[in-house]
Amino acid sequence: MEFSLTHKEHKPLQVNPIKHSQPMGATLAFLGVKDCMPLMHGAQGCASYTKVFFTRHFNEPIAVRNTSVSDITAVLDGGDYSILMAIENIQSKEKNIKPSMIGLHTTGLTETKGDDVRGVGMHIEIPYVFVNTPDYEGGMDSGWALTVTAMIEQLTLSATDVKSNKLVLLPHLSMQPIEVEKIKALCEDFGFETYALPDLSTSLDGYWEEAQGKLSNGGITVEEIRSLATCATVISIGQSMKKSALALQKKNPAIEHLHFDHLMGLDSNDNFVAQLMKIRHTQPKPLIKRWRARLQDAMLDSHFLIGSSHFVITGEPDMLVGMCALIRSVGGTIEAAVSTTFSDALHTIEAENVFVGDLEDARRFFDKVDMVISNFHAERILHSYHDTALVIRGFPNYEELGNQLKNDQLYEGSTYFLFEIANALRKVKHEH
């Protein structure tokens, strides 16, 4: 079978899917807002699956509620009943729960019946953000991005002035909490007052505390989202986040928009740091320079192993683009880059095959490669390929621990990533 990069599906079904749904991306985005109550509007299974999925990936309690649409309400209700009843029931059962915001996201079921989720908002006193995320459209990455856009459009107040050193990052879905934290820290090193929307770095970063989250535990506050239009700079990372940045610019045309497809490898990070230097008219801190030199060294150290190796990589488009660029920069051959959904950014990938598909498709290339970089589901399949290494990245990673602290971004994370894959390759290539 020939694979090509197109919008069209090449078969009627998915076998061993890697794609995840829009509402799940929306839930995760809302979990990056402090004290938010993500409320999924659909049958109870959607939220239950989502909760288990992220609980196992992050090893943290996941605060998501649902409106439990039944076969009767599916036909008779326009959304008002089940959404308002859900909020009432939660508040009457848990008296001390005070959400800062309700993050309502729809599902395939409630989109098919066409609920007016905007209208319901008029009857809700708590700040309310709605987003239409049918799971028969897009994927987890678009659900995340649509939610960020919705929060900006519905919460952020328009402004005309900007604060020259205020900056907001719009990270793509696949960035783990520590990655957001590291990028924030780098911007802060340049003297920026830095925010991230959403901010998983303070909510799902895996820290221990007494209180168990009935609401999102940390993240950016609703007040901070309201005042984001006074940022001088918005930085979108990942093609999927461009539209969200444009939505913020609409709130204040004076905001400067910087876009990066990814922050992996030397080139993209040189570009990133150069842009920050230009805005702040300053040199990077010594440690940033030091990490660049370490990345250079890692590239040289790992180029032989990686440069003689072949890869299959699967995942969300924005993650794929970054990983492929980094691996290509040290000479790795990418036999197949298999994406969950279509994105224009996929055209930039240098690989033998780039296409939208599933693990059944990806498996066709497993014989030819030394390493597969994929999610948890590739592990069992690879049991029958003894000479192929696996590095797990992307959602979900059900079994490994510490997923929220895996950093592949910037000079620092790229360095660790190169060493991790080179060491994994060594085991299958030289130990026989």
Binding site: P12, V15, P17, H20, Q44, N66, F376
Partner: protein, 452 residues
């Protein structure tokens, strides 16, 4: 399509102990907006059927239904062919299918599956969206069955019809309607049973099946742990239905009693006493004195073997007290296991239990045992007043263990080993041994230097 009459019938199961306290027609609880956190009917149907590894499970719906649920359960199989249980198949419908209907996509998907995977059967699951837009799944499956001469079974358990429990019942209906009674077994014995409701999670069934073999009990078919579609088709020839720890499939066994005159019993294989009791129940129901005698011999041998293996653990666990905070039948089944190991269970939670479960918990814990109705607020005090050494609970209770500096086991966490049968008790003992020895709960809660 699934009819409202069928759902009503399933929700009012006469053989179910829950129905005793309800007014006529009231039936099982419907999920309430905002409060229900559990799985949906589709989830329940999948759990009940997915262990058929020789069948392909094709989910006709949008991305969430299968994308977030495949390869999440450790149901083991001895099937030597391709294990379809740990694979995911979904039509992953898109906007076009919602507008124009997804029947064509489903038919092509069935063709694809038959061409590439040649399974013994296909289960096709309808989901909220495909049920709502009215895809004619029955017809597509019927045409597919005729075309390929394998059972293609429609499972009508869209998420919005109700809870996980109802979904299991609907899966039972699908099996009863489309599979059971469609094939004759190669041979039968007087001791043929069907196992209903054990999904062989972490290999639970394999803890007790070798004993069955020794006694001479033959498992004709299973719904559905380590099951084969070919076998469940012959289930109507069994002499007895044995439900394992599952209330949801009572409707199936009741109907099989009505249609095929197969009696049923309900048993559990957690802990020594329950396992022995379960075996005795089965052989008594099969009614053969010779079989009963063999069972007694096997039980005696297995119990003696277990007792010997448990000696070092019993020494280690002497005088230990446990507080148990978990739901449903685990409230007494784990308690029973702990007691078998010589641990005193001072309290268990009955917050989410049925009356049957509460009665059983009382029976196991005795008069002095505390049955907690508000475990979150009670368990800390009970640990203090009884001097309990270990808390077995869900992750939310971790802080209580840290505050009280006692050992902890997360009983809701995905288990990797089986606690079933006699052998499972040794696994539980091993886990407890490490839990008692582990200082982490005392260590981790120490105050930070800036807090002292």
């Amino acid at each position: 399509m699934v009819s409202r009459a069928k759902i009503k019938e399933l929700m009012n199961e006469s053989a179910c102990s829950h129905s005793k306290d309800k007014k006529p027609g009231e039936g099982c609880d419907k999920p309430k907006p905002g409060l229900a956190a559990g799985g949906c009917a589709f989830d329940g149907a999948q759990i009940s059927l997915f262990p058929y590894a020789d069948a392909v499970h094709l989910v006709h719906g949008p991305q969430t239904c299968l994308g977030a649920s495949w390869e999440t359960r450790e149901t083991k199989t001895s099937f030597t062919g391709r294990d379809h249980t740990q694979m995911g198949f979904t039509t992953g419908i898109t906007t076009n299918d919602v507008i124009f209907g997804g029947d064509k996509r489903l038919a092509s998907s069935i063709d694809y599956v038959m061409e590439h995977y040649k399974p013994e059967a296909i289960f096709v699951y309808s989901t909220c969206v495909t049920a709502l837009v009215g895809d004619d799944i029955d017809m597509t499956c019927k045409l597919g069955s005729e075309k390929y001469s394998v059972p293609i079974v429609p499972v009508h358990a869209a998420g919005f019809v109700g809870s996980k429990n109802l979904g299991s019942r609907l899966a039972g209906e699908a099996v009863l309607e489309h599979l059971i009674g469609t094939k004759e077994p190669e041979f039968t014995t007087a001791y043929d049973i069907n196992l209903i409701g054990d999904y062989n999670v972490t290999g639970d069934m394999w803890q007790y099946l070798p004993l069955f073999e020794k006694i001479g009990i033959r498992v004709l078919s299973s719904m559905s742990g380590d099951g084969r579609v070919g076998d469940i088709r012959t289930a109507h020839r069994a002499k007895l239905n044995v439900i394992v720890c599952a209330k949801s499939l009572i409707t199936l066994t009741r109907k099989m009693q009505e249609q095929y005159a197969i009696p049923w019993i309900s048993v559990s294989f957690y802990g020594k006493r329950d396992t022995s009791f379960a075996i005795r129940e089965i052989v008594t129901a099969l009614g053969c004195p010779e079989l009963m005698a063999r069972a007694e011999a096997v039980i005696a041998e297995a119990e003696a073997e277990l007792e010997t293996a448990l000696i070092p653990y019993r020494k280690m666990f002497a005088g230990k007290k446990a507080v148990l905070n978990t739901g449903g039948n685990k409230a007494w089944s784990i308690a029973s296991g702990l007691q078998d190991l010589g641990i005193e269970v001072v309290a268990t939670s009955v917050a989410k239990s049925t009356q049957d479960d509460i009665d059983k918990a009382r029976e196991y814990l005795g008069e002095n045992g505390v049955l907690m109705t508000k475990p979150a607020s009670e368990q800390g005090k009970i640990i203090d007043s009884t001097g309990a050494h270990i808390l077995l609970a869900g992750g939310r209770s971790l802080y209580t263990a840290i505050k009280k500096k006692i050992s902890f086991i997360d009983v809701n966490q995905e288990k990797k080993t089986s606690y079933g049968g006699y052998g499972g008790l040794l696994n539980l003992a091993e886990d407890l041994k490490y839990a008692f020895k582990n200082p982490v709960f005392a260590n981790v809660g120490k105050p930070a230097p800036w807090e002292v």
